[in-house]
């Protein structure tokens, strides 16, 4: 698995994809930090993460569209599938490489925390909860995109499918707040991954949402593995 991880991380930075993701992500977070904190004078990162959780989904497909499409274009997918690696190892290697790039981008935003610490009195525990929550949310977004990308043969289809999938989940989060109909609102709440993030923004660090995210990630990674295994049957 590590060999796939290493190769994918290296590919992220020998092609524009890694830089594009980091650039856009940091631009978005920078704009929000500027608006909420520098101009708005806010001493916490709730505003930044709150908006970021609803907008940043647009960037996550960049991490995953090439994960499988490149292999299929180059004909290297059968090479991996007939190697000593299992489909799970292949999917995990690719997924974790995408998460690595996301984590690296998120780590760069620590500079905002440093700025807040120098000029204000931020609640570091609350900020840490926000970071952990956003990390889990980002990993969940990446897992959804990984699955939708595993279904596609080319960048365009992967991008459309991933973007569509993530828009769907974000909209579910939005609708679940307003829909009150008994069964439907329960279903929507269960699927609303952005709402699970709400408690982290409030600075609350509870196990329920953590397990939710982990379960969500496991489901979509498993679906990606099935998708890859199905391709062997051609």
């Amino acid at each position: 698995m590590f060999i796939v991880f290493k190769k994918e991380v290296s590919t992220f930075f020998s092609t524009p994809f890694g830089f594009i993701f980091m650039g856009i992500f940091l631009l978005l977070s920078g704009i929000m930090f500027f608006t909420y904190n520098l101009l708005g004078g806010g001493g916490d990162m709730n505003g930044l993460f709150g908006l970021l959780s609803n907008i940043s989904f647009m960037v996550f497909p960049i991490l995953t569209i090439k994960l499988f499409a490149d292999e299929r274009k180059a004909g290297t997918e059968p090479l991996l599938l007939t190697s000593r690696l299992s489909p799970l190892q292949i999917v995990l290697g690719k997924y974790l490489a995408a998460v690595f790039v996301f984590v690296a981008s998120l780590a760069a935003t620590i500079v905002y925390v440093i700025i807040l610490k120098i000029y204000g009195f931020p609640d570091l525990k609350a900020i840490a909860a926000s970071y952990i929550g956003f990390l889990l949310l980002g990993m969940a977004f990446t897992a959804v995109s990984t699955f939708t990308s595993s279904l596609a043969d080319n960048y365009v289809t992967a991008a459309i499918a991933s973007f569509g999938g993530l828009v769907g989940f974000v909209l579910i989060g939005v609708f679940s707040r307003s829909v009150q109909t008994p069964v439907i609102s329960d279903i929507l709440s269960a699927l609303a991954i952005t709402r699970q993030y709400d408690s982290f923004i409030k600075g609350v660090f509870s196990l329920g949402p953590i397990f939710y995210f982990i379960g969500f990630i496991v489901i979509f990674i498993t679906l990606s593995v099935f998708s890859l295994e199905r391709r062997r049957f051609n």
Partner: protein
């Protein structure tokens, strides 16, 4: 070593291959010959585990490729028509990656890859990005990737396609060298390539095997051959006309003052038998054959003929 039984592959409703059965012994060099779309690549992909059959079985050293692919394919090196290359990597990093996923231990990896690069003559481009290599070098890197782990069986799908004549000669020489120590299954639509490298040929057309034969047997006689006989034209003609399955395409007298010679262009079935009959018939009549030679490429005759029929 490789047993293929009743192999069938459907693409939706379309027949890819139907009821293909053959076996390949250790150390053999076998050519899969057929026109484009015949099913050669389909067979090779299934042999290499890149595709599952609709029905039928493939076993390698007694292990079924579908039931236990990892074990069965351990000794297979497959080079598809378009080699699977990570073009953003350099040659040595790519081969290291392949060696890792094929399970070559880290301690021996470097020397193993160095040996393979020497064999395939790509050492001088080892640091170059694959995307910057010429087609000829990319084919050789593709061949190198198939050689990682020194599998005993090499399956090469159209290894010389798209190469210039110099590159074709180099790759063919390489394959000939490799065929000394490996079982090689090679597909091509170039007859001369199959003749040059392979001991046995399996001709595929429209998804079925139409002929399986040793190249040497095919080479002993094509359909068309010329004989020069010492004797009178009319006598020799009469004898030849009585041989069933033989057609006299043309004949000419080549007598001079002292001797009578005649020359015939004959068309018969491929193989030795018709020639033996011609020899026996003329010898009985005491008309010595002073020259007998095949014209055209016998494998070509059969290939064109059989694929036309199919």
């Amino acid at each position: 070593m490789i047993e293929v039984t009743g192999l069938t592959k459907f693409y939706g409703d379309k027949i890819g291959i139907k009821d293909v059965s053959f076996s390949i012994s250790k150390g053999e060099t076998v050519g899969l010959l057929g026109p484009n779309g015949a099913g050669k690549t389909t067979i090779m992909k299934m042999l290499a585990g890149h595709m599952l059959p609709t029905s039928g079985s493939i076993s390698i050293d007694g292990i079924d490729v579908v039931d236990d692919p990892k074990k069965a394919l351990r000794n297979i090196g497959f080079m598809p028509e378009i080699p699977p290359l990570y073009t953003e990597m350099d040659v040595v990093s790519y081969l290291n990656f392949i060696a890792d996923i094929k399970g070559i231990k880290p301690k021996v990896r470097t020397s193993h890859i160095a040996e393979i690069m020497e064999l395939t003559a790509i050492t001088d481009v080892k640091g170059r990005l694959i995307k910057n290599l010429s087609k000829g070098y990319r084919q050789r890197v593709g061949l190198a990737h198939a050689l990682v782990g020194f599998p005993s069986v090499l399956i090469l799908d159209e290894p010389t396609v798209g190469l210039d004549p110099k590159q074709i000669t180099e790759v063919r020489k390489l394959i000939e060298n490799l065929s000394r120590d490996h079982t090689v299954i090679l597909s091509s639509h170039i007859l001369s390539e199959i003749k040059m490298i392979c001991k046995r040929v399996i001709i595929i057309s429209s998804g079925r095997i139409v002929l399986e034969e040793e190249v040497a047997n095919l080479e002993e006689g094509g359909k068309n051959f010329i004989i020069r006989v010492r004797g009178k034209l009319d006598v020799a003609s009469a004898i030849l006309k009585n041989i069933p399955g033989l057609e006299i395409q043309s004949s000419e007298e080549q007598s001079n003052d002292s001797q009578n010679y005649c020359r015939f262009m004959l068309v018969g079935e491929s193989g030795v038998a018709i020639r033996e009959e011609v020899f026996n018939a003329l010898a009985k009549a005491k008309l010595p054959i002073v020259e007998m030679r095949t014209i055209g490429n016998s494998l070509e005759d059969i290939f064109l003929d059989i694929t036309k029929q199919s």
